[in-house]
C-alpha cells in the first residue's frame, strides 16, 4: 500500500485514512453493541471501546506498512 494518497492533489498520509476508517468502524460497533445490549457484559465500557479502537487502528496500520 502507498504511504501517502493524493486526495484532490493534496498528499494525505494513508494512516490518517486508516484512522478515519477505524473511527467510523468503532462508532458502528458502538451503535450495534448498545442496540443489542451487549455492553452489560462489559466491565469498563469506555476502556473497552478504546481498546477495540486501538486494535482496529493497529490492524489497519500493520496492513499499510
Amino acid at each position: 500500500m502507498p504511504r501517502e494518497i493524493a486526495i484532490l492533489d493534496a498528499l494525505v498520509p494513508t494512516l490518517l485514512l486508516a484512522f478515519m476508517v477505524s473511527v467510523i468502524l468503532s462508532w458502528a460497533m458502538d451503535w450495534l453493541f448498545s442496540s443489542i445490549e451487549l455492553y452489560q457484559y462489559v466491565w469498563y465500557r469506555s476502556l473497552f471501546r478504546f481498546a477495540t479502537f486501538i486494535c482496529m487502528f493497529s490492524l489497519l496500520g500493520l496492513l499499510i506498512y
Binding site: D30, L47, R49, F50
Partner: protein, 726 residues
C-alpha cells in the same frame, strides 16, 4: 467497653466522617486536576513527538475543553473543532484576498470578529463557544499567516493538527480515567429540583403570602431550566443510559416550566385576594390548597426519590378524581351574601387551582417514570415531541455586542500599526479572546477584572517557569515537571466557581507564552513586551465592556422589560394556535440572558423577575382566552373580547394609567355583555363560565396596585408630572 477502646472507636468514627467528606468534596477536585494534568502532558508529548510547531496550542485546547463531566468535554470538543475549522477556512480566505494590504485585512478581520461576537451572544453555552473559537482561531492562524503568507496553508494544517491532538487527549482522558457521567448529575439535579419545588409548595401558607422569597426561587427555576437543557444536549454525546431518555427530559423541562408558572400565578392570585378580597373567600381558597398540601406531605417531609414520587403521582390521581366534590363542598360553605365579583374571585381561584393540580400531576408522573426501569426499557413512547427551547434574543443588544468586538480589534490594530509594535499580534489575540469570550457572561466587567488577576498570576508563573525552570530542564520528564505547577494551580482555580475566571486567565496567559515550541526559545525582552501587550489588550476590552454595557445597565433592563411586554402583545395579536410553552421559553430565555444563573442581587433583578412572572401570567391567560373564543359562535361576544384583546395589546405596547383604565373598562364591558341573558342562552355553559373566569382573572391582574405594571405606570406618571411642574 473500656475507656481506651471507646477513644479508639471515637477517633475512628471521626476519621470515617472525614474520609466520607473527602470522598465527596475533595476527591473529585483532585481527580479533575490530575485528569487535566495528564491530558495536557499527553497533548504536549504527542505534539513534540510529531514535531509540530506549537505544542502550546494543543495544551491550550486541553485547558479549554476540559470539564469535570465527560459528556460536556465531548460536546465542547465537538464545537471547538467546528469553530476552529470555520476559523481556519475564513483566515485562508482573508489571507488570499488581502495578504499585501494590512489595513483591509484587519478591517475585514474586525468585521468577522464582530460577527463572531454577535453569534456568541445569540447562542447558548457550547454553541456560543464555537463562535468564540471561530474568532480566536483567525488570530492564531490568520495573523501569523499575514507575516509569512506563503506558509498559510501549512500553518493552518499544523494548527488544526495540534487542536485535534488536544481534543483527542482531553476526550480520551476524561472518558477513561474516572469518568463522571452526566446522567448521574442530571438525575441528582432533577431530584433536587423536584424536592425544592415541593418545599416551595409546602412553605406557602396564609401567613406568609406575599413574601418575596419565592422570587429568588423563580429566578433559580429560570436558570435551572436552561442548565438542564445544556446537560441534556451534552448527554447525547455521552454513551450511557441517560441517552435513552433524553426526550423524556425535555418533556420534563417543559412541564416544569408550565407548572412553576401556574404556581406563581396561583400565588399571585392568593396574594391579591389576601389584600383586597373577601376574607371568607381567601379562607376557602387556602382550605382548598391545604388539601393539596396534605397530599404532598410524606410523614411531614417532602418526597425523596422517584419511587416515592410514583406514590405521590398515584395519590394525586385520586385527588384529582375527587377534586370536584371537594370544591363543591367548599363552595357550599361559602356565605350567601357574596356579590357577583366575589363569587367570581372564588371561581377564578378554583380554575387556577385545577390547572395547577393537573400540571403538577403530569410533572410528577413524568418525573416518577424516570425512576422506573420498565419505562426506560420501553424507550420513548411519547408520541408528541416537546417544544424545543429555541433561541430568542434582543437583536439590538447582539448588534451592539458585535460592534464592541470589532471595536476592540480595531483599537488593538491601530496601536499595532501606529506604534509599529512587535507584540501587536499578541495584543490582538488576547484582545479578541477577552472580547469574545466574556461577551455572553452576565457581568463582563467583573469577569474582566477577575481575568486580569488571573493574567497577573499567570505572568508570574510564566516568568518562573520560562527563566528559572525551563533553561535547566533536559528531556521530557523535566519539561513536564517545569510546567506542572502552573497547570495544577490553574486547574485547581477553575474548579472553584468563585475563581473560575482567574483560573482560565492563568491558563490562557501561561499557555500562550510558554517558553518552548519545538525547542526552548524564551527571551526576556519578548516576554516583557508580550506581557505588557496582554494587559493592554485586557484593559482595552475591559474599557469597551464598561462603555458598551449590555447586561448590567439600567438600559438593558428597560429593553428586556419592553421585550417581555411585546411577548404579551404578540400573544394578543398573533394567529392561533399558540402554544403557551413557546411564550414561556421566550420569556425565560430573555431573562436568563440578563441574569446568567446568578442569585437575585438587586432590586432591579427583582423587577425583572416581576416582569417575567407578570408576562407569563397575562400571556397565558390571554392565550387561553383566545382558545376559548374560537369555540364561541356568538358574534357579539366575539367582538367584545376582540376589543378587550386590542386594549390589552395597546396597554402592553405603551403602558400608561389611561391605557390600563381603558383595558379594565373594556373587560368590564365584555363581562357585563356575557352576563346578558340573551348571550348566556346562546353559549354552552362551561364555555361561558371559562370566559367569565378568564376575563375576571385578567381584570384582577390589571387592577392589582402592587403589580409591576401598575408600579411602572405610576412612576411614569410621577415623572411626567414633575416634568410638567418644572
Amino acid at each position: 467497653m473500656n475507656l481506651g477502646q471507646f477513644r479508639v472507636s471515637r477517633t475512628l468514627s471521626i476519621l470515617k466522617l472525614a474520609q466520607r467528606d473527602w470522598l465527596r468534596e475533595d476527591a473529585p477536585t483532585m481527580i479533575y486536576i490530575i485528569k487535566v494534568l495528564i491530558a495536557c502532558l499527553i497533548a504536549m508529548w504527542v505534539s513534540l513527538r510529531f514535531e509540530l510547531d506549537q505544542p502550546r496550542t494543543a495544551m491550550m485546547t486541553v485547558a479549554i475543553v476540559m470539564q469535570s463531566r465527560t459528556g460536556m468535554v465531548f460536546a465542547k470538543s465537538y464545537y471547538r473543532l467546528v469553530g476552529s475549522i470555520i476559523g481556519i477556512i475564513v483566515s485562508f480566505v482573508l489571507v488570499a484576498m488581502f495578504a499585501q494590504e494590512r489595513v483591509l485585512f484587519l478591517a475585514s478581520m474586525a468585521i468577522w470578529i464582530g460577527l463572531c461576537t454577535a453569534g456568541s451572544m445569540m447562542f447558548r453555552n457550547h454553541q456560543s463557544y464555537a463562535f468564540v473559537l471561530a474568532g480566536y482561531t483567525i488570530c492564531i492562524v490568520g495573523l501569523p499567516a499575514t507575516i509569512y503568507p506563503e506558509l498559510t496553508f501549512s500553518i493552518g494544517v499544523t494548527r488544526i493538527s495540534e487542536i485535534i491532538i488536544g481534543l483527542i487527549s482531553a476526550s480520551l482522558i476524561s472518558d477513561l480515567i474516572f469518568p463522571q457521567r452526566i446522567g448521574e448529575v442530571m438525575t441528582a439535579k432533577i431530584r433536587r429540583r423536584f424536592s425544592d419545588f415541593l418545599d416551595m409548595l409546602h412553605v406557602m401558607s396564609i401567613d406568609n403570602i406575599g413574601n418575596t422569597s419565592s422570587q429568588s426561587a423563580a429566578l433559580r427555576i429560570v436558570s435551572d431550566v436552561f442548565e438542564l437543557e445544556t446537560f441534556r444536549a451534552s448527554s447525547g454525546l455521552e454513551n450511557d443510559a441517560s441517552r435513552t431518555y433524553r426526550l423524556r427530559l425535555s418533556m420534563l423541562n417543559a412541564e416544569f416550566m408550565a407548572v412553576s408558572t401556574s404556581f406563581h400565578t396561583l400565588e399571585q392570585l392568593l396574594r391579591r385576594q389576601n389584600v383586597t378580597g373577601h376574607p371568607e373567600i381567601v379562607k376557602a381558597l387556602f382550605n382548598l390548597y391545604q388539601l393539596l398540601k396534605n397530599v404532598i406531605d410524606f410523614d411531614n417531609r417532602s418526597v425523596r426519590d422517584e419511587i416515592e414520587a410514583r406514590q405521590l403521582a398515584d395519590e394525586l390521581k385520586y385527588f384529582r378524581a375527587s377534586l370536584q366534590e371537594k370544591i363543591d363542598l367548599i363552595r357550599k360553605d361559602l356565605p350567601n351574601n357574596l356579590v357577583g365579583n366575589e363569587q367570581l374571585d372564588f371561581e377564578v381561584g378554583v380554575e387556577l387551582f385545577k390547572r395547577f393540580v393537573d400540571e403538577f400531576y403530569v410533572y410528577t408522573s413524568t418525573y416518577a417514570s424516570l425512576g422506573s426501569k420498565a419505562a426506560i426499557a420501553s424507550k420513548d413512547s411519547i408520541a408528541e415531541h416537546p417544544p424545543q427551547l429555541g433561541i430568542h434574543f434582543d437583536s439590538l443588544a447582539v448588534t451592539l455586542a458585535g460592534i464592541r468586538g470589532a471595536l476592540s480589534l480595531i483599537a488593538m490594530a491601530c496601536i499595532w500599526i501606529f506604534a509599529d509594535w512587535r507584540s501587536g499580534v499578541e495584543a490582538i489575540t488576547i484582545g479578541i479572546i477577552t472580547s469574545t469570550l466574556f461577551a455572553s457572561s452576565p457581568n463582563p466587567r467583573k469577569t474582566v477584572n477577575q481575568f486580569i488577576i488571573g493574567a497577573l498570576l499567570g505572568s508570574l508563573l510564566l516568568y518562573i517557569c520560562n527563566f528559572q525552570m525551563l533553561p535547566q530542564a533536559h528531556g521530557f520528564l523535566m519539561l513536564s515537571l517545569a510546567v506542572t505547577p502552573a497547570i495544577v494551580i490553574a486547574a485547581w482555580l477553575t474548579t472553584r466557581p468563585a475563581y473560575a475566571t482567574i483560573g482560565s486567565g492563568v491558563f490562557i496567559i501561561f499557555l500562550m507564552h510558554i517558553g518552548f515550541n519545538s525547542a526552548y526559545n524564551a527571551n526576556p525582552i519578548t516576554f516583557m513586551n508580550d506581557v505588557i501587550a496582554d494587559f493592554l489588550a485586557i484593559a482595552t476590552s475591559g474599557i469597551l465592556y464598561a462603555l458598551i454595557d449590555l447586561t448590567t445597565s439600567q438600559w438593558s433592563r428597560v429593553r428586556i422589560s419592553k421585550k417581555l411586554r411585546e411577548l404579551v402583545v404578540l400573544a394578543c395579536i398573533q394567529d392561533l394556535p399558540q402554544h403557551p410553552s413557546i411564550l414561556e421559553t421566550r420569556a425565560r430565555d430573555l431573562v436568563q440572558r440578563l441574569n446568567g444563573g446568578h442569585r437575585v442581587a438587586s432590586s432591579q433583578d427583582k423587577e425583572m423577575v416581576d416582569w417575567l412572572l407578570s408576562t407569563l401570567e397575562i400571556g397565558r391567560a390571554v392565550i387561553e382566552l383566545r382558545d376559548q373564543v374560537t369555540e364561541v359562535g356568538d358574534n357579539e361576544t366575539k367582538i367584545r373580547i376582540a376589543e378587550c384583546l386590542d386594549q390589552i395589546a395597546k396597554l402592553y405596547t405603551s403602558p400608561s394609567i389611561q391605557n390600563q383604565m381603558a383595558a379594565i373598562e373594556s373587560i368590564n364591558l365584555a363581562a357585563t355583555a356575557l352576563d346578558n341573558v340573551m348571550v348566556f342562552s346562546r353559549l354552552p355553559q362551561f364555555i361561558h363560565h371559562r370566559l367569565l373566569t378568564m376575563l375576571h382573572f385578567i381584570r384582577c391582574a390589571l387592577l392589582d396596585k402592587d403589580s409591576v405594571l401598575s408600579l411602572h405606570n405610576q412612576s411614569k406618571e410621577l415623572k411626567k408630572e414633575s416634568a410638567n411642574a418644572s
